[in-house]
């Protein structure tokens, strides 16, 4: 069973990461906190360019902790698992910026100490989830507080002091940035303190944590299936897997070419439907 899990591509061939971090996230924590606070602005306050998504935060954090490749892989995994957590209506999604930043920083810290990277990745995400939930609560408080800002600006505007709109906006931006910085700093410190418990685990626990990484990919795929699919498209998914599998295994088509082909077919389908839209 062990070999069954270890043949997957999500599980690394080398059990010891070759280029782990330099051992501790703490020397970089001010810089990491600033980065996460800056990226947190993108979640809601400024633009929503998706710079706060795990796939971007992961490699950036990894770059600061000396392991961009690990950051990218972890960012991809977190992106996939929480892909269906959408900010619709008043729903507050998980704070994936803090989750990814803390998880990548902790995994980099642990992976510098000659332990299985797959286990460190799973463990780090597990530690980062409650910290991200705390950050969500802080966000909730801030948004409740925004009601007061709004009423203040309204009162000032009715008193013909329209400049209040400008400085309230700046004050709120600063408030969100500070909240991001403080929660990131607190979360990184907490992760740094809890992290070493990892080294007390017996080898079998580490083995279990490593298995989880492949299963987490299945969880990510389920999130996509849950969000995008219905009964009509189930057959379409099955046929797509069969065709791609045949191309990959029987025809031995290269992976890059498969990605390009999938993109081309996907684009054609989208344009076909879009074209139908214009004519109707």
């Amino acid at each position: 069973m062990g070999s069954f899990f270890k043949t997957g591509r999500l599980v690394r061939d080398e059990s010891i990461h070759p280029a782990g971090g330099d051992g501790s996230m703490m020397p970089q924590w001010p810089l990491l906190s600033l980065l996460l606070a800056f990226l947190s602005l993108d979640i809601l306050a400024v633009g929503q360019f998706m710079m706060s998504r795990p796939i971007v935060v992961g490699p950036l954090t990894g770059f600061l902790t000396g392991n961009p490749g690990l950051g990218l892989e972890m960012g991809a995994l977190i992106e996939l698992i929480w892909i269906s957590d959408l900010p619709v209506g008043a729903h507050l999604p998980m704070d994936l910026t803090i989750l990814t930043g803390v998880a990548v920083a902790l995994a980099s810290e642990l992976s510098g100490k000659n332990i299985p990277v797959d286990a460190a990745v799973t463990y780090s995400i597990g530690i980062a989830i409650p910290l991200a939930l705390v950050s969500m609560q802080a966000e909730l408080l801030i948004r409740k507080f925004h009601v007061k800002w709004m009423h203040l600006a309204q009162r000032m505007a009715l008193a013909s002091r329209l400049t209040a709109f400008e400085w309230v906006n700046r004050a709120v931006l600063l408030e969100i940035f500070l909240k991001g910085f403080l929660t990131a700093a607190a979360a990184l410190t907490a992760a740094h303190l809890v992290g070493p418990a990892f080294f007390m685990f017996p080898p079998r626990v580490l083995e279990g944590l490593a298995y989880a990484r492949w299963l987490l990919l299945a969880l990510g795929c389920s999130a996509v299936i849950d969000m995008l699919m219905d009964r009509q498209t189930a057959l379409y998914l099955f046929l797509s897997i069969t065709v791609i599998l045949s191309l990959a295994v029987l025809v031995k088509v290269q992976e890059t070419f498969l990605v390009a082909l999938t993109l081309f077919v996907g684009l054609t389908i989208t344009l076909f439907f879009a074209g139908k839209g214009e004519s109707s």
Partner: protein, 279 residues
């Protein structure tokens, strides 16, 4: 028609003001609040135009009108903002007697459009385009297309470029179309056929998901075909189980810990875990 009642249609907002208003649309959700959601952002975005269109003594009331409840999708709000700008211009060209009527029309447009536009934006951007871009990025990571450490920045850049091309395009188009068409922008929105684009993008996403599933189970090394089929079947069964759990409103974080627990059980299961035989 009485000259007093004639509508002046020439725009009074110059390009600089329009550009400033458009720039502010990126701050629409800064003061998002639980009482009136995007109301502050809406008024904040319109402020340069209000300063241009109204004399100082009328500005507070004009701004206050836009502090009513407003909630929609942040990108698609550009359609509403553009249309409201045009209608505010038209209002100022009307005789004073008709101002109240125009104000009611503006409010009706905001209330009438915010729901449908939010539904379109949520479906198109949050539930379709962002997952598609995310899937593309994850698939590229699994394919190890840009595998080496030095190229880790390429995949996030692709993700941002693809997503923001659509995002910024929609913001700009929405703002311009709204401003050009005013209250007729609803007809323009219908012409875009967003539902069909969403349908096409969802099919493209499912295709990408199929590729991701294959990549997740393919081994970089040679692998026994029987084991591969077994692995794919196991993966499908687990994914089916997770999908069922998600449908039952168990969230991803809870399932994450369930996976950890299951994995630990596997590791401690004496008959399953393959260990080297003792010498």
């Amino acid at each position: 028609m009485n000259p007093e009642e004639k509508i002046r249609t020439a725009p009074v907002l110059n390009r600089l003001v329009l550009l400033r208003v458009f720039g502010r649309t990126f701050f629409l959700e800064t003061v998002w609040n639980f009482e009136r959601y995007l109301n502050y952002g809406f008024a904040f975005v319109l402020l340069p135009a209000i300063k241009k269109l109204y004399p100082p003594e009328e500005r507070p009331q004009a701004l206050d009108r836009h502090l009513e409840y407003f909630n929609t999708h942040p990108y698609m709000a550009s359609f509403v903002l553009g249309a409201v700008l045009r209608m505010e211009e038209e209002k100022q060209a009307l005789p004073r007697l008709k101002h109240k009527q125009k104000e009611d029309e503006i409010n009706a447009l905001k209330v009438g459009m915010m729901g449908p536009v939010a539904a379109m934006g949520d479906s198109l951007f949050w539930a379709t385009l962002r997952p598609y871009c995310g899937l593309l990025a994850v698939t590229l990571v699994l394919a190890r297309t840009f595998g080496s450490q030095g190229k880790a920045w390429i995949i996030p850049l692709i993700f941002l470029a693809v997503y923001n091309a659509a995002h910024l395009g929609m913001r700009a188009t929405g703002f311009l179309q709204g401003y050009r068409r005013g209250d007729q922008v609803v007809l323009t929105l219908r012409r875009y056929g967003f539902q069909r684009i969403i349908r096409g993008l969802r099919l493209a996403s499912i295709l990408m998901l199929a590729l991701l599933i294959v990549f997740a189970n393919l081994s970089p090394r040679e692998m026994d075909p029987g084991l591969f089929v077994l692995k794919l079947a196991f993966f499908a069964a687990i994914a089916g189980l997770f999908t069922f759990a998600l449908k039952k409103k168990i969230n991803s974080s809870q399932l994450f810990y369930a996976v950890l627990l299951f994995s630990l059980m596997l590791a401690f299961w004496p008959d399953i875990s393959v260990r080297p035989a003792a010498p």
